[in-house]
């Protein structure tokens, strides 16, 4: 069933459709939030808040196959709000425990990714994340980031250029 059909059913009060929609997008939203906050716990909180906000404002959503963009916009705003809050770091080193399912290769990939992402601007990083991480179209990325499609395209293109250079320098 398409996202918009599920949303229509939810608007009519169908709880099963609500559950299906949450299960469909819980993991992608969590993954997106995890890239924006250091703590796994916080990412889970933000994911939950994203869905709560979605359900509270679902009556304002006007279809036209833009559900993903709508959902990621909520998540993005929450992540931005979170990044603005004053942080209190605990005295103990609260390293995030690695998940059991996370293999060596995954850790290596993450380190490599961190190195490639370092020279990128925040917008470029966000655009790459939405494009390759969440598989959004450029139109959807533009909607989430509040820019036009050409800007979104050029952000991704420039980011790829910088990352390619970074990779070659390392070699």
């Amino acid at each position: 069933m398409q996202d918009d059909d599920l949303v229509e059913q939810i608007k009519c009060g169908n709880e099963k459709a609500a559950e299906e929609l949450i299960r469909r997008y819980y993991l992608p939203v969590l993954r997106y939030c995890k890239r924006h906050c250091p703590s796994r716990e916080k990412a889970e909180d933000l994911t939950q808040e994203t869905f709560l906000k979605l359900f509270q404002n679902l009556h304002t959503y006007r279809g036209k196959k833009k559900f993903q963009a709508y959902l990621y916009t909520i998540a993005r705003h929450l992540c931005i709000d979170e990044s603005r809050k004053v942080r209190f770091y605990p005295l103990e080193n609260e390293e995030e425990p690695q998940c059991e399912c996370q293999g060596i290769r995954q850790i290596e990939d993450n380190m490599e990714l961190g190195r490639l992402f370092r020279p990128l601007t925040w917008e470029q990083r966000e655009a790459v994340l939405l494009r390759y991480g969440e598989q959004l179209t450029f139109r959807e990325i533009a909607e989430v980031m509040g820019c036009n499609m050409r800007t979104a395209q050029s952000r991704v293109r420039n980011a790829l250029k910088i990352m390619r250079k970074e990779w070659e320098n390392e070699r």
């Binding site: 949450i22 993954r31 939950q48 709560l52 359900f55 399912c101 990714l113």
Partner: protein, 255 residues
């Protein structure tokens, strides 16, 4: 690194499956469904349509508007009966009907309650539009009554069209002037409007004496043109108020 390799790497590393904590997922589902149920139980408050709103305004302003118009009609009829000797005296009486509308328009300003009016759910422009409709309806009744009285005094059916123009043109000029005064001169709107309307009273009253040929049958064209012209001005002002109302803006009487 070639482009394709870089993209493949990005896809692989960015789409690494995050571990989902089943208890958090269930908690999210439960909280969202709870929120959905709460929304369902909260009954939506229906928005009041324009006619519903008009009836609400009528509850508060209808009686003063109709009452004051009735008093004006009575005074004008008495005047026509006692002193006036022809339909050319009709224009001088018309500003009185608009004058009778002032207490309702400027009530908020007079009692220092404009801010309360501005804080209501409807905009000042919507309120003004509703009052204008009510006053317009009352004036229509008054003009019909006045024409009836005038026709009985000066002969039934004789020059009824001209008498209608003598009522409509001054009425429209006064309404346009009132609306302009309300819009432009917000602080001194009430006193400015009274002065302008009394000025119109004198102007239309003395016009019959100063320019008698204007009330001859051959000058009916001028009256028709004036009626069309002022109708256009009036319609433009009403459209402006309606537009302001839609945008939820204020119109006039805030101090």
């Amino acid at each position: 690194m070639r482009d394709r390799e870089l993209k493949t790497f990005l896809r692989r590393s960015l789409r690494q499956e995050a571990c989902v904590d089943p208890s958090r997922l269930e908690e999210t589902v439960w909280r969202c469904i709870k929120s959905l149920r709460e929304q369902k139980t909260q009954e939506e408050e229906l928005r009041l349509g324009f006619w519903g709103y008009l009836s609400e305004v009528f509850r508060f302003d209808g009686i003063p508007i109709l009452g004051l118009q009735a008093v004006s009609l009575l005074l004008v009829c008495l005047f026509l009966w006692s002193f006036a000797d022809g339909p050319e005296n009709l224009p001088g009486c018309m500003p009185l009907f608009v004058l009778a509308f002032l207490p309702v328009v400027f009530r908020g300003q007079y009692y220092g309650m404009s801010e309360m009016e501005a804080a209501t759910r409807t905009s000042g422009a919507q309120m003004m539009l509703a009052r204008l409709i009510l006053a317009g309806g009352a004036d229509l009744l008054c003009i019909t009554g006045l024409l009836g009285v005038s026709a009985s005094l000066h002969g039934l059916g004789k020059g009824l069209g001209r008498m209608l123009l003598y009522c409509v043109v001054p009425y429209l000029t006064c309404m346009v002037a009132l609306l302009r005064m309300t819009r432009w001169n917000k602080r001194g709107g009430i006193w400015g409007s009274i002065a302008v309307l009394l000025g119109f009273c004198v102007f239309w009253g003395s016009l019959a004496k100063a320019v008698p040929w204007l009330y001859e049958t051959s000058a009916a064209g001028i009256w028709v043109v004036a009626a069309v012209l002022f109708s256009l001005f009036f319609a433009r002002e009403i459209c402006y108020i309606a537009k302001m109302g839609k945008e939820g803006k204020l119109y006039g009487t805030i101090v």
